[in-house]
Symmetry: C2
Subunit: 339 residues, 2 copies
DNA sequence: GCGCTTGCACGAAACGTTTCGAGTAATACA
DNA sequence: TGTATTACTCGAAACGTTTCGTGCAAGCGC
C-alpha cells in the first residue's frame, strides 16, 4: 500500500505539501497541485483512515445500534442513516443487540474502542439503572431513537407511543370489541411501557379494564406465535388482538393460521408498525403506522449537528405522530355479548 | 479519553509493560499484571482502535457489501457475518450498493481507505470488465457471495443457480403449464444470467421455448409489480409466473392482487428464495429455497481462514444446493390447451 | 565463584497522518 | 534601495499504539 510519503517522493514535494493538497488546508500552487494529483492517481494512493483518525482525533465514524436489522423497520432506518452519513463523510457501524442488554454494552464498548464520533442508539431498556450504565460507557454525542432512557441527557427521537396505542384501542372498541388481548413486548423499555400503559388506560376508560388480557412476547415473532396459540386455545378467546409491534403481529398471524381462525371473522388484528407491502397479506392488516424514515432523518440530522459542535441549548426531544391505517383485518366482532 | 500512558503512570510501570499485559504478548509478573489491570479498570481505559490498527498494520475490520439490507435474504447474511466476525475479534462494515456499480466501487474505495482485512462481496455484475475493476480496487482477501465474477481469482460461494431454475420450471411443466412467464433481474450478473439461461433451456427441452415470455425487472419489487401488471393485462396472460428472486415475487403478488387474479386458480407462482414466515401469505408460496445462512457461514469461514494466512491452494468455489418447496401457490392450470 | 541462561521490565523507534512554526523567494510599498 | 508583505513550501513533532533490542537480577550448572 502506498503512503503519503510515496506520493511526496514521486511528486518531488514534502509530505506536508501533499497533505495540504489532499485536504485543501493550505495554499498550494497550481503547478504543485497538478503534480501531486498526478502522483496520487499514478500510484493509486488512498489516505490511511486509521492514521488520519489517530492524528486528527476524528474517526469520521458513526455507530448505529439497533435490536435486529432483520426487522424492516430497523433496516429502513439503517439504510437512511448510512446514506446521510456517507454524504456527510462519515462511515457507519451497524450493530444488532438482539434485545440483550449485556450485548448492548459490549457493542457500546467496541464503539468506544473505535472512537466513534457519535452514536444513534435504539436501546432495549429505559430504566434509570440502564441510563446510568449508558452514561458511563458513552462519551460522545448520542441520540436515542425509538425508545427513551430515564435520567439521561441524550437527544431523543421517538414515536408518540401513547397515542399509537390509543388509536388502536379506540378503533377496536368503536368496532364493538370487548374482549381485547394486548400482545406486549417486555417490561422496562419505553416502547413497551408507554404503549402498554396507554392501551390499558384506554381500555379502562372504556370500562373494559377487567376484560383486558395482556401477554408478554418479548418483541419476538416466535414468542408472539406461542402466546397467540395459548390465547386462541382458551375458553373465551379474545375477539380482537392488538400487537405492540410488527414482528409480534406476524407471530399472531401465524398463530391464527395454525389455529385455523379467520381474520377478521373470528378475530380482529391490529399492530403498531406498518408493513412494506401491505397488500401481499390477506387480509391486509390494519395498523398504526410509525414513520421510520422521518424518525431516522430527524435523529441523524440532530446527531450530525451536534457533532459539528452546533450544540443544542437543551436536549432535543422529538415525538413523531402515528397514524391509524384501517385496512381489512379489523371488523365488528361476530356476536356481541349483552352489555 | 485515557491512554495507555495514563495506565502506565498509574500502575507505575512502562508503557510497553502495559501493552504486554493487555495483549499477553510477553511474560509479566503476577504482581504487575494485577496493578496494571487495576489501573485499567480504575480509569476506564480502552485501547484506541485506530492507533492499534496503525501500528500493528491490522485493522481488525471486515467489509460486507450487499445489494440491499432491506431484503431479508441479505439481512440474514449480515446478521450471521456480524456474529461470527465479532466472535473472531473483527468488526464489520455493512454497506448497500443498491445494485449500482459506481456506488459499489465507491464503497470499495471506502473499505480500502479503512484498510479492511477482508471483504465479502455480493456483487451486482459478473462480467470480466467488472472483474478487472474489482481486481484493481481490491487488495485484500475477498470472497464473492451469491454471484460469481468472471476472470477473478476470488473464492466464491453461490447457489447452484442453474439447478434452482430447473427445479422451478420442471415443477410448473409437470403441473401442465405451457404459457410460463419468467421475471428476470438484469443482464450481466450471474444470479440472473444462470437462472434465466437455465430456465430458458429447461423450457426449450420441454418444447416450450416458443411460448416463453421473459420480462426484466431489475431485481426490484416495484419493477416486477409493473411488468407483472402488463403481463396480466395481455391478450394471452401466462398461466404461471416464475420470479427469479424473492423481492420480484412480492412484486408479482402485488400485481395479482391489483389485477384481481387469484393464485393459484388464475395463475401459479414460484420464486427463488424463501420467505421467513411463509404461512402469513395466502396462498403460501411455492419456492426454490436458498440457504442464506449456510452460504454466509461458508463465506465468512473461508474468509477468516484466508486472512489467517491459511491460504487455500486454489480459490474455493462452493455451490449450494437449492430445494424446491411445494406449497399452495402452484397448481394445474385451469384449462389446458390442445397439445 | 564464574559465566550462562531465564524471567521480567524498560526505552525508543516506528506505523501514516496532520499541524504548526519557520524559511525562502517574489512582490509591494515607501 | 531597503523593508514589509505575501505566497508558497518545508521539516519536525505529535497522535496512541506495538515491537524489538537492551539491561538487570536471580537462579543454574560446573
Amino acid at each position: 500500500m502506498p503512503t503519503i510519503k510515496d506520493v511526496a517522493q514521486r511528486a518531488g514535494v514534502a509530505i506536508s505539501t501533499v497533505s495540504a493538497v489532499i485536504n485543501r488546508s493550505a495554499p498550494v500552487s497550481e503547478d504543485v497541485i497538478q503534480r501531486v494529483e498526478d502522483a496520487i492517481a499514478a500510484i493509486g494512493y488512498l489516505p490511511h483512515g486509521a492514521a488520519k483518525a489517530l492524528r486528527s482525533g476524528d474517526s469520521r465514524l458513526i455507530g448505529l445500534i439497533l435490536p435486529d436489522i432483520t426487522n424492516p423497520f430497523f433496516s429502513q432506518v439503517a439504510r437512511l442513516i448510512e446514506t446521510v452519513c456517507m454524504r456527510a463523510g462519515y462511515m457507519t457501524f451497524v450493530y444488532n443487540t438482539d434485545e440483550d442488554v449485556d450485548h448492548e454494552m459490549r457493542i457500546l464498548k467496541m464503539m468506544r474502542a473505535q472512537r466513534v464520533a457519535g452514536l444513534i442508539l435504539i436501546s432495549t431498556r429505559s430504566d434509570a439503572e440502564h441510563g446510568r450504565r449508558l452514561m458511563q460507557e458513552i462519551t460522545v454525542p448520542t441520540v436515542l431513537l425509538g425508545s427513551a432512557v430515564d435520567g439521561t441527557p441524550y437527544d431523543t427521537v421517538k414515536l408518540d407511543d401513547r397515542l399509537a396505542s390509543r388509536l388502536a384501542i379506540d378503533h377496536l372498541v368503536a368496532l364493538g370489541h370487548r374482549r381485547i388481548a394486548v400482545i406486549a413486548g417486555r417490561e422496562g423499555v419505553s416502547t413497551n411501557d408507554e404503549r402498554l400503559g396507554s392501551a390499558l388506560e384506554a381500555l379502562a376508560e372504556h370500562g373494559l379494564g377487567a376484560d383486558a388480557v395482556v401477554a408478554m412476547a418479548e418483541f419476538k415473532q416466535q414468542k408472539a406465535f406461542e402466546v397467540g396459540l395459548q390465547l386462541l386455545a382458551g375458553a373465551e378467546p379474545p375477539t380482537a388482538i392488538f400487537a405492540l409491534s410488527n414482528f409480534m403481529l406476524i407471530g399472531i398471524i401465524r398463530a391464527l393460521v395454525a389455529a385455523r381462525r379467520a381474520c377478521p371473522r373470528d378475530v380482529s388484528l391490529v399492530g403498531i408498525g406498518d408493513f412494506d407491502w401491505p397488500e401481499i397479506l390477506s387480509p391486509q392488516m390494519t395498523v398504526v403506522s410509525t414513520p421510520a424514515v422521518e424518525m431516522a432523518e430527524a435523529a441523524i440530522g440532530i446527531l450530525l449537528d451536534e457533532i459539528a459542535r452546533k450544540r443544542h441549548p437543551a436536549a432535543a426531544r422529538i415525538e413523531c405522530v402515528p397514524r391509524l391505517i384501517i385496512r381489512e383485518s379489523t371488523a365488528a366482532p361476530r356476536l356481541s355479548l349483552p352489555a
